[in-house]
């Protein structure tokens, strides 16, 4: 399967949600990929029927996010990959250096490539409700971000998702946030979900580590005091960097 076919599989023509698929990982194909991850089984008894017009945001480590997305495809949901980070440069054939990337996205790309066949078999309806796939490790360095590291951490923005009005226009008024543990999402995703919640979308939470159905979730509202605390903490802990994207409010991009 070539790059175009893999992309088409995850962003099929005609699907309401294909436009939101982040293309960057797919653009780095073809490239050598590790073995595919083992297929995990999920208890999906708590998943609402697709006909109930619920959307998902899957915020668990990347390959697992893809895997759960595929499982949800089997239940009628359209998985929408929102992985927005570059994989590291491909080393020369004779080189045997360790992967320099700060976040492992190669394993996500592997899962996407190997998941194509299952996704095709799901034969989803173009109007299938979306399951937005996010990498929970997008800002978590797996190694020291030293001078030689390939820093491919990423941020989720409000604009990476459809608006609440768009969701509502498709009959979606509830979103289920899925995480591995019963811990709050990182602030970038919380901000995006908060925008939905303020616009009237109900947010529920499901921790995979805990049994039971999703429960109502109230996102903390970021007030000005929280903003000051965040800035102060970023300054004092030295996490402030030149681009300001980690540990500080996100300024505008460079490009004019």
């Amino acid at each position: 399967m070539n790059r175009e076919e893999v992309f088409e599989c995850w962003a099929p023509a005609g699907s309401t949600w294909s436009g939101w698929v982040k293309p960057v990982l797919f653009a780095h194909l073809p490239r050598p990929l590790p073995s595919p991850p083992e297929i995990q089984t999920h208890d999906l008894s708590w998943v609402p029927l697709a006909a109930e017009h619920v959307a998902f945001v899957i915020d668990i480590p990347g390959p697992a996010s893809v895997e759960l997305g595929l499982a949800l495809a089997g239940r009628g949901y359209q998985p929408i990959p929102l992985f927005n980070a570059c994989p590291p440069p491909v080393p020369d054939a004779q080189e045997t250096v360790e992967d320099p990337s700060v976040v492992d996205v190669t394993s996500i790309l592997t899962a996407l490539v190997h998941g194509c066949e299952r996704l095709r078999q799901a034969a989803l309806d173009p109007g299938a409700p979306p399951a937005f796939l996010v990498d929970a490790n997008r800002q978590t360095p797996r190694r020291t971000v030293d001078v030689g590291a390939f820093d491919n951490r990423s941020v989720v923005f409000v604009t990476d998702f459809p608006s609440a009005a768009f969701l509502a226009g498709r009959g979606i008024t509830k979103v289920i946030l899925v995480r591995e543990q019963a811990t709050p999402p990182d602030s970038d995703l919380a901000y995006a979900l908060g925008a939905w919640q303020r616009a009237g979308i109900a947010i529920e939470f499901k921790a995979l580590s805990q049994p039971g159905a999703p429960s109502q979730y109230r996102l903390p509202r970021a007030g000005w005091l929280a903003g000051i605390r965040l800035r102060l903490s970023a300054w004092l802990t030295g996490r402030r960097n030149a681009a300001g994207e980690f540990g500080e409010f996100v300024p505008a991009a460079s490009g004019g």
Binding site: W20, V147, A149, F166, A253, S254, G255
Partner: protein, 422 residues
Amino acid sequence: MTGAAIDLPPCSPDDWECPGPLPTDDFARIRRRLVLEHCKWDPQVADTETVARFPLVLPGHLLDALGRLAESLDTEGEAAAREIDQRPDLVGRLGLPRRLARVLTDSSRPWTPTAVRVVRFDFHPTTEGWRISEANSDVPGGYSEATHLPAMVAERFPGTHRCGDPQTAVAQAITDGAGGPGRAALLAAPGYMEDQQVVAGLGSALRRLGWRTCVGRPGQVTWTDGNAAFATRRGTVPVDALVRFFQGEWLPRLSWGREWESFLRGARTPVCNPGFGMFTESKRFPLIWDRLETPVPTWRALLPDTRDPATAAWRQSGWLLKKAFGNNGDEVLSRTMTGQREWRNASWSARLWPSAWAVQRRFVPLPVQTPAGRMYPCLGIYTVNGRFAGVYGRLSPRPLIDFAAIDVAVLARGHSGMKGHP
């Protein structure tokens, strides 16, 4: 502040065409190639598809005329920057961060050599004729959208052609300047895909010309005796050119030390863009025109009346508030078009720190009729080492070009000196 000596081309968007839209399948193919082959990695922003399904077709001679104006702007801007370099008293008026200003005015060290100098002037059709809103002379982007999108769309509209290839023009100029291909490092801030896509696209263009490239962040560059090297896990590799897609005012925040200064002054490895590009990038550049000996008649003819917030009565509706250094339109605010809260915050900032802002008389842009309704065009005209190199088209549903504007293929119909070659 505007002069009448410059001959501006006619400005009648009613005569322009937006044929189409492209059939769904054709557009899907173009979009797929753009995102997979040509590093356009932000084709959707919230509910907005950021690539227009139709082109904007202009007479070739009009695009040539805009290209000549951009060349004049570039010539005048570079000459002004050279004069400002000799007159540090003027730099204080430009709103530069203090540490950056100190380096830019340090004439004891020569400028770091220029790998290529690329500027994008944003032209708008208005009720008063052609106007520019700004010059992007530090980190202009949009190369892939201005290069590959029009090339693919033109194939579907016989009788039209792409006007220039700015991406290849930049890569070719770097190659010419280096005396042939070598190894280049392309730098952007982590976490910003809209920046990383620009360096990825430029990297592809350089590789097509035989370069070896490394992509990373400015913090990976080390300097020894003015020579740059790029740090990787495999070790440090010397580089022959640096493409800095990382805005100049952020450089001082790279470290408390002085390594970052080499991007601007005192180094030997050529860098794109040069540090003196910051002078014309400042929205406060017009505030020093009257004190320059260098004439800037084209700038005076095209840039709206711009003043210091400390002296102008700008809180009326006819003015825009602009951050001295802002890059994607988010820091351009209008009393009538910006949210109340944003306007209030910016107003306070401009009152407390007027030297970080400029105010500019609003122009009334003219719309074009498109298959998606009336939209306001902005034509970003590139110059590469002073020569017209291509056009980056954007359309906005409201009379303000910001992050929500969409990219449109600008095509030429009829004779044009630019036929898609750099």
